[in-house]
């Protein structure tokens, strides 16, 4: 009962003025570079369409998805970022909601405060783990 009450409290305290749906947050925070379908720009912005779901099923991959600078340093709250990532994995990573454990605000908070320095190298390491 208590976690539910806390959640309710968090929802009422959250600033209501700029709370957008995940699809709009994707437009405002990600789409400028990742393009509408997440396929990016060849040679400049890597596609995340084929990596979102596999990464979301690896512990290191989950950490990576949250710690990439665009996600970790965005102006979204932990709960908004969790909702956005869960939306992206389904909508852009063509996954069913049952195919992965959804991110929670607590999990986001745990990873987000640790900066990821070697972004490209970590991505290549995860790609190697996928295969």
């Amino acid at each position: 009962m208590r976690p539910a009450l806390l959640l309710l409290l968090a929802c009422t305290l959250a600033p209501a003025a700029r709370a957008y749906q995940p699809a709009v947050n994707y437009m405002l925070q990600c789409m400028g570079c990742h393009t509408p379908d997440g396929s990016g720009e060849p040679g400049r912005v890597p596609s995340m369409r084929d990596t979102l779901l596999p990464f979301a099923r690896l512990p290191a991959g989950r950490r990576y998805i949250v710690q990439v600078p665009g996600a970790a340093q965005s102006t979204l709250s932990d709960a908004e970022l969790a909702a956005l990532l869960n939306w992206m994995i389904v909508e852009l990573g063509h996954a069913t909601p049952q195919a992965f454990a959804p991110f929670t605000a607590a999990e986001i908070a745990q990873y987000r405060r640790t900066p990821l320095i070697e972004v490209r190298r970590e991505r290549e390491r995860l790609l190697a783990l996928m295969h």
Binding site: M27, L28, R44
Partner: protein
């Protein structure tokens, strides 16, 4: 001719008695400064015929109408969609607010923000795709930058040349569009 001499002498003497030697400087100075200050008087502006369609009082109502028209004019910097733009308006460069001029290509990588449309009171997501591949257009520079962040918060900053995100090497910036992506809610 004595009468003429007498007349001249009388008039010169009377003038010398009535006026000082410095009065020439005084009147010439007043003429020069007064002449220069004449265009500052509201006379000329008051004489202008009222513009077509202007309100009879020519005051606040007229200005408000002009502002409202600019808010809906895609070629105006005041156009509501341009609230976060930083660049030349493609509408002034041979394109429009949602298409690129001939000879340029729209960048896929872009800056995205939100603008408030006063006509319907709703907020919209606006994508400012740059048109690339030709040198700078140079017409209708508009730099409004609502919710643009400084460059040290890079993900929300619009101060980039977004054409450099193109993989096709069209790095030359020409102008910017303002395309509606959807309602911000």
């Amino acid at each position: 001719m004595n009468w003429l001499d007498a007349l001249a002498e009388a008039s010169v003497r009377s003038m010398a008695q009535r006026t000082s030697r410095r009065s020439l400087l005084a009147s010439l100075g007043a003429l020069l400064i007064g002449g220069a200050a004449l265009p500052l008087l509201p006379v000329a502006r008051g004489a202008e015929p009222p513009r077509k369609g202007a309100a009879p009082n020519g005051g606040a109502e007229d200005k408000a109408a002009a502002k409202a028209a600019a808010l809906q004019d895609p070629q105006s910097c005041e156009y509501w969609r341009h609230c976060a733009i930083d660049g030349y308006l493609c509408g002034c460069c041979g394109g429009s607010q949602h298409s690129c001029p001939p000879g340029t290509e729209m960048s896929a990588v872009t800056w995205i923000g939100t603008c408030h449309n006063p006509a319907d009171g709703l907020d919209y997501v606006v994508s400012y795709n740059d048109c690339c591949g030709k040198s700078t257009c140079g017409r209708c520079l508009c730099n409004r930058n609502e919710r643009d962040t400084p460059i040290y918060i890079p993900f929300q900053s619009n101060d980039y040349n977004w054409c450099s995100g193109s993989s096709k090497g069209n790095v030359a910036y020409h102008c910017s569009t303002a395309r509606i992506l959807g309602q911000a809610r």
